[in-house]
Symmetry: none
Subunit: 215 residues, 4 copies
DNA sequence: AATGAATGAGCCTTCATTCAT
DNA sequence: GATGAATGAAGGCTCATTCAT
């Protein structure tokens, strides 16, 4: 019996391990598929039950409500995404390393988990306006603060343009995110990972300080 | 009675002028407000009727269905946005002019019509999967083709990096779009227009060819 | 076409007249029958719809909720009961007349409208703990105050025992109410009206001052 | 450890003594509280479990069903009430003693056990229409027959008005019951026991034969 | 053009009860 | 005796849409 590892391709085996959680995993997987196929609002509880061969009572026992199910999936995906990015991030030294870790991590994760990524995009609004909205907000803030602190370290700061701080995340992640959205909705064909290096280089150019003259 | 002009801040007075369309405008305005406050799926016809003080029959007479109402608002916003961008676009000569027109136009419009912009983001998915989906898709393709053709003109081409064409729109618009989304959802404070020049410059740097050495 | 009159045996024809209210009357009648047959909690909306041949939407259009339907029936019955009692009450002069009007009116109404009376008993708790609870409470208080004021008039006061005021309504109405409940639940056979005079006389004896000695 | 005695204020310690029945008592107590706070129909098994910190399986092991729980509480209360009344009843000699025992016993019990009394009122309908309905009916009949037999003894009979027998219980208990209901629902303030003697005297007056002239 | 009463398919959720451990 | 995960029938209610006036 293979132990789920950090490199397991199945996100749920990583985040909800154990034989006990089997039915719970099956429900989450079915919900993800339905939400992506029909949209969150258009998916009915019945759809999910049919697909996961579970009972209504059980679904409500584990998730409390349809919105609770969405939130469970959402944070599950968010955690997995962070985990992947953290790895590269921990080894980054220069400002360019940092940009590469952020953009690369993002691109790699979306390429590896397109279904989860697709879900993340459509679920954000639902979760943000639900009861878990506060938690989501605080997580986002904390992550943003961490980045800013890291990039504010003097040596890194010097390597960057003196542009408004609130603009920085958009300059770094914006192009990659926009391309990933386009890919997920079929508007472009190339898997984001194919453009990994270009997206990193472009992001870097948009925030890097002008190269110092050689003499 | 003041004539609505091109500079009128109210988008609907521009696109649906005349006294006859008064009720129709009121319904559209109410729908926009409801959709932004509660989300499209969560807004009921009743909500819109209450807010616009109109009758069910009337709403169905004008828009046919809830989806029809969404589409009407969507294309109305899309047209207005294009109109603004076209102006700057027409005068652009260099590749940098083009990037500036695209980014600047986008940023200006979102800053001027935040409610419409907010709606555009959430309505895209709904319209895309509705009966008007085909029209939307063809419009998008045509616009993309126009851009590519324009930037492909040799002199402009030389000023750009030789990066994959399917990446180009994301590199140009991605940062601005990402920042605008963040602004509309309250995650950042500064009106996009404040960062107009920085967003243009950053976009330009990310796609511009390396400056040729002077000798 | 017969006009509904004050003596019409059908309570709803009196309280909801007009051809327009036809369907509404039918729904109320069906609800009353179901509530009495199965109990309020055990009656489903579906039961009422089947019986009245109405549509769900319509029922909710008129009454807002199951609880709203119960309240509508409740106040409808309460109004009819008051109307009947008021008539006798208006002509009462002596304290004994007053007691006779209250007890007689109560007994007459229950005997004439047993289904409505049965409903009133089971619905009180539901309405009292619902959103209309406040209105019910204020009505009850006002009626109690009116009685007390009327009986407090000196000449009437002298004809009564000097017993605690808060006890008075129970002494007058208690026996009649208890008998009516027993009749409605089948524990006794005689229609309350048969015992009209005895119930009045007994109530009167329990509150009447001792007769002045003849010499 | 104090032994529960006949004078213990807690009804359950009297009817379900012993350390073994501790959990059962806790469940009954929790159920009583929930039923009175929310109503029987509105109370869920879950509510009772939360309050009693018991498990579903355990509750079903002891009571079989929700209805079984209601019946257990109901008969438990009924037994306690009878016990109290029997004591006074056994010593009664004259017809007035009998009336005093019935009214006084009723008033005393409701005053001492308001929560159980409140429950009794709302549970009657539920139990009557359940599987225990027959038992309840037969108990009621038997008690009524006992009373009638007792009061029918010639000497007592002479002291009473020759009023219809089916009316008698209502005349005696009606006022007290009505007042107790009013007290339990907060419509009047005075504890029933405060009015003990007045309620007895009033009941007696309403059924007593006219005093024979002395000559 | 305008109105709003009426329709009814379908949804989310609750909750008493069972049963394997 | 005790536990609580799992079941699934059934219920109240919403809401887009129609249509007679």
């Amino acid at each position: 019996m293979a132990m789920p590892t950090a490199s397991s391709p199945d996100l749920l085996d990583r985040t909800h391990p154990g034989a006990r959680a089997q039915l719970k995993r099956r429900m989450l997987r079915a919900a993800l598929a339905c939400f992506n196929e029909r949209g969150i609002a258009a998916t009915t509880i019945e759809d999910i039950l049919t697909r996961s061969e579970a009972s209504v009572g059980n679904l409500y026992h584990h998730f409390g409500s349809k919105e609770g199910l969405v939130a469970a999936l959402y944070f599950c995906a968010l955690d997995d995404q962070s985990a992947l990015t953290e790895a590269a991030w921990a080894q980054a030294r220069s400002a360019r390393d940092g940009v590469a870790a952020l953009v690369g991590g993002y691109v790699d994760w979306v390429s590896a988990q397109p279904e989860w990524a697709r879900f993340l995009f459509q679920a954000r609004a639902v979760v943000a306006s639900g009861p878990q909205g506060a938690e989501l907000k605080s997580r986002n803030r904390q992550r943003a603060r961490q980045w800013m602190a890291w990039f504010s370290e003097p040596e890194r700061m010097q390597a960057l343009q003196a542009w408004p701080a609130e603009l920085f995340p958009s300059l770094v992640i914006g192009p990659a995110e926009n391309y990933c959205r386009a890919w997920l909705s079929g508007r472009v064909k190339g898997v984001p990972q194919v453009h990994r290096e270009v997206l990193i280089e472009a992001a870097w150019r948009s925030v890097a300080a002008d190269a110092a003259p050689a003499f």
